[in-house]
């Protein structure tokens, strides 16, 4: 076996997530040889990698979102590796941006860091925990509004 190019392309977590989910669907459809001993390694690594990526914000991304994000951050002049890290991690604080962007104090002013944070949080969808937080907030507001039995169009009592 020969390795022609050990780094032909960088893949984002979303692309790997998409590939593994598609592969899982295909193999589920063609059923029978999933459990043969030879496929055990593939099953293990696919399961573990999917489990890992599903806990990150990448599972809610789509090709359009990725394209939109890359065009939006073009003005900040980031390297490919930095854009990839922003895409994979979705930082929400300035500290995280400073970790992922090299020499961020010299290259980005505070306003630019704020703008970058805004771009990241507005374009990239939040992770599963953030969604849960949003759902519980939604429940709270629903309780404050009047529930159905106080409305005038309720069941008539006569």
């Amino acid at each position: 076996m020969e390795v022609k190019d050990a780094s032909a392309a960088l893949l984002s977590n979303y692309e790997v997530f998409q590939l593994l989910t598609d592969m899982k669907e295909q193999r589920k459809e063609s059923g029978k040889n999933k459990h043969s001993s030879g496929q055990q390694n593939l099953n293990t690594i696919t399961y573990e990698t999917l489990k890992y990526i599903s806990k990150t914000p990448c599972r809610h991304q789509s090709p359009e979102i990725v394209r939109e994000f890359l065009t939006a951050v073009k003005s900040h002049k980031l390297t490919k590796a930095e854009k990839l890290q922003l895409l994979n991690h979705r930082p929400v604080t300035a500290v995280e941006i400073q970790l992922m962007v090299e020499e961020s104090e010299e290259r980005l002013t505070e306003e630019q860091i704020e703008a970058l944070l805004l771009t990241v949080t507005s374009i990239l969808p939040a992770g599963p925990e953030a969604e849960q937080k949003q759902n519980t907030n939604g429940d709270v507001t629903m309780d404050e509004e009047d529930p159905a039995w106080n409305s005038t169009t309720g069941p008539s009592v006569s």
């Binding site: 020969e2 390795v3 050990a6 893949l11 984002s12 040889n33 890290q85």
Partner: protein
Amino acid sequence: MFVLVEMVDTVRIPPWQFERKLNDSIAEELNKKLANKVVYNVGLCICLFDITKLEDAYVFPGDGASHTKVHFRYVVFHPFLDEILIGNIKGCSPEGVHVSLGFFDDILIPPESLQQPAKFDEAEQVWVWEYETEEGAHDLYMDTGEEIRFRVVDESFVDTSPTGPSSADATSSSEELPKKEAPYTLVGSISEPGLGLLSWWTSS
């Protein structure tokens, strides 16, 4: 975190699989050979991405199977230097903090790369960051199962292919078990602001 690696290999398809589509048999064989395995100086192979070129399939005398030279691309886990990753703490030992990503376990953060000052609590076998503020020192424990953000600072590949029998100490080596070494290990660091347990840096 993941890279695409272009490789070339000759795949052997036994005759009883000739009725299947060649592409499917080859994909299955490649995954059987490489998935969840570490390739020296390349990384941990995850799964086949696509087949770029299939050359002619030959049948050699004496072997009924077909041999096809395949050019393909494989998804490989190979974080680049200084990449930020998030994992779970597997455990602590005097050697440092062991971190796992679920599909990849051999990540170590040595004591000198922890947030300083750090000390090892022998009783609970856990590393502690002694965080100093004006109010006094807080002890931040690095417990098992906690999510941790770290930077990849080094990687090392070990060639674990079997070596031939050594004539000199043949008897002694057969009695003791060979040491199992991980073929691919990552060294991490959390000595920067923002790195370490996620709970240390979330402001809620």
